[in-house]
Amino acid sequence: MTKQTNTHSASQIQAQPPLLEVKALKKYFPIQRGFFKRVVGHVKAVDGVDFYVNEGETMGLVGESGCGKTTTGRCILKAIAPSSGEIWFQDPNLGRIDVSTLEHEQLIHVRRNMRMIFQDPYASLNPRMTLLEIVGAPLRAMNLASGKELEDRVAEMLRRVGLRPEYMRRYPHAFSGGQRQRIGLARALAPQPKFLVCDEPVSALDVSVQAQILNLLQELQEEMGLTYLFVAHDLSVVAHISERVAVMYVGKMVEMATTHELFMTPKHPYTEALMSAIPRPDPTPRDKRILLTGEVANPAKPPSGCYFHPRCTYVKDICKTEEPAFDEISPGHFVKCHRAAELNLSGVMNLA
């Protein structure tokens, strides 16, 4: 399974449709004022995002806070309804289906195969339920198991994520952050899904626990043939776990490529700046560093043209007026930049 996922290449993508394909996804949050809740504007949290996730791979989604990565993750499961766009999911039973159009029964059915784990291991577990109730909730609510069978499946699930089945009658307060994240993982995996949206699953954890959870995610992926969309802001973690990475900036996708390609030969100036900013546990002095000036654009009032142009060192006139397209400049490498072809940007290794 691992071998197979690693050899996914651009040519195979055409042959085998991706497990998830997101097209022109938008999520605008209205800004309301006054008594009549008049809409005075929109926060364009996700503003036309295209990407795909292949079966069995881990797709990293990175970007700075407020760039819309979490919203994107939640839209995919229709946890929040997208404003527009298509979310094509290859459901094992229903076939290729646009999640954004689904309602009720079908949505519940699709959510059996698409699950989510949350960032905050404290807020995401109902403190008033035992592990049996928490992990069993999707099985019960989706009518997948009940009674003794449900208990057995919960026990099995707990064992898989490295918790003892005897803990079943305990409440979340008995567990540490790392253990709670395992519980969240057990709940997500209980209905045996294909696809998992991991929303910053390790960023609230201590370094040593973070490694345990990352390893667990990799083990489970191999055992159960899972596909991950791994949303995070920590680039080292994303690089470690993902086959491919997509970079977001102010609600838009700016670059998408395989991890190696993206980190070694970034094509978007924002990606380059991100690479350069990663603090690395290596005391060798780095001589070159790209420091961004200014602030992240306001998603309620984004700049004209390319959203990144006010901070970009390679800015040209066209960047200020025209929004670049998200083009595939080499197989599987997508960039949203007018100057992607001509620029020779530095990757992580060159910077070191």
Binding site: A79, M116, D120, Y122, P138, Y171, A174, G177
Partner: protein, 387 residues
């Protein structure tokens, strides 16, 4: 964000430390209410308050049995009689079980008010389960056994531990009977407020939009209305020919109509904040229906808050009854309540001469204080998952 998590983490550990050694598994398996109870148990003052309130409610329920006299019986020869002193040592220095002396009555030559003096030659021992005024417990079970008193017939000196009022009724017995009304006005009022607050707050928080807007404005209007004039008008609207019991229920109803707004706001606030919780979103993704999310995830989450807010508003209800009845716009004689009893104290001269008619005040203070302590203890214990 991570600092917050850190704090939460430490709190989690802190809670864990509360477990007695060797009972860890029991602690880990403890649900919300078990944890609340453990946390509450650490509150000594609140526990004491619970015991005191238990006694008060016991007295209220068994008022007929607990009080030494019939609260309506007038002892014409003992008008405004001061509290009887209890002795355990007689004039000769001998010890007895607690007893009281007989009384010699005189008259002040200047003011013509009666004076009382102990007649140390007659001793009436105080006994338990003595026979006295006949009564029917809850209007059903006839008996004449009282928890304590001096017993005997009319010729003995009656026991007036808190004295008598201006027309010779035993203050203590009246306080005991009054507890029945004064302590239950709160409970019934709260029960109605609870239903109203939960319902309207729930609707407001759950449906949002226009309904929410309307309910919020109505709450604002109600809180704007000055309570006492409003109450006076409403109370004046009650037909005079109504029996006391119905008046009493109407009074509690009015109190609760004015009292639900706070609770409704609490419920709405909790509901709104809870809808944003990650675990509620997780439940939605688990395929739980809206009804299940409300019943299994949200209601247990704020039930403890509701209980706390209820205990918090009970003292207000008790104080409300007392104040309104004192002003003469709540309950009126012959109903016995603490507020009604205090109507006598409206005349400051009465208070100056017979200060014992103020006994209902310390009792009200005690009851309210105990409810406040209990409420405080519950508030600290209410959400065992945060500090």
């Amino acid at each position: 964000m991570s600092k917050k998590t850190l704090q939460k983490k430490q709190l989690g550990r802190k809670t864990r430390r509360q477990i007695p050694e060797g009972q860890e598994e029991e602690f880990y398996r403890a649900g919300q209410w078990q944890l609340v109870w453990w946390k509450f148990r650490r509150h000594k003052l609140a526990q004491m308050a619970m015991v005191v309130l238990g006694i008060l409610y016991f007295i209220a329920i068994f008022a007929e049995f607990a009080s030494p006299h019939d609260p309506l019986r007038r002892y014409k020869q003992y008008l405004s009689f001061p509290p009887t002193a209890i002795h355990i040592r007689d004039a000769q220095g001998r010890f007895h079980t607690p007893f009281i002396y007989g009384m010699k009555m005189g008259r002040d030559p200047v003011t013509f008010r009666p004076t009382y003096e102990e007649n140390t030659s007659i001793i009436y021992p105080i006994g338990l389960f003595v026979r006295g005024d006949p009564y029917k417990l809850w209007g059903l079970i006839p008996s004449d056994i009282h928890l304590f008193g001096v017993g005997g017939g009319d010729e003995v000196m009656p026991l007036f531990l808190m004295g008598t009022d201006t027309i010779g009724r035993d203050v203590l017995s009246r306080i005991f009977y009054g507890a029945r009304i004064s302590l239950s006005v709160g409970l019934i009022g709260i029960a109605i407020s609870f239903v109203l607050g939960l319902l309207l707050g729930g609707i407001s928080g759950f449906f949002g939009g226009v309904v929410d807007e309307i309910i919020q404005r109505v709450i604002e209007v109600i809180t704007t209305l000055p309570t006492i004039p409003l109450f006076m008008a409403l109370a004046a609207a009650l037909p005079r020919e109504w029996p006391q019991l119905r008046i009493y229920f109407a009074t509690t109803l009015i109190l609760s109509i004015l009292g639900w707004t706070g609770l409704a706001r609490t419920v709405r606030g909790r509901l709104l904040s809870m809808r944003e919780e990650d675990f509620v979103l997780a439940a939605k993704l688990d395929g739980e229906s809206e009804a299940a999310i409300i019943a299994r995830y949200m209601i247990p989450g704020f039930l403890s808050y509701i209980i706390v807010s209820l205990t918090g508003s009970l003292p207000g209800m008790i104080l409300g009854e007392t104040s309104l009845s004192f002003l003469g716009i709540g309950l009126n004689p012959p109903t016995i309540s603490w507020g009604v009893m205090l109507q006598d104290a409206q005349d400051i001269m009465n208070v100056a001469h017979y200060p014992w008619i103020l006994w209902p005040v310390p009792v009200v203070v005690l009851a309210v204080l105990m409810f406040n302590f209990l409420g405080d203890g519950l508030r600290d214990a209410a959400d065992p998952y945060v500090s």
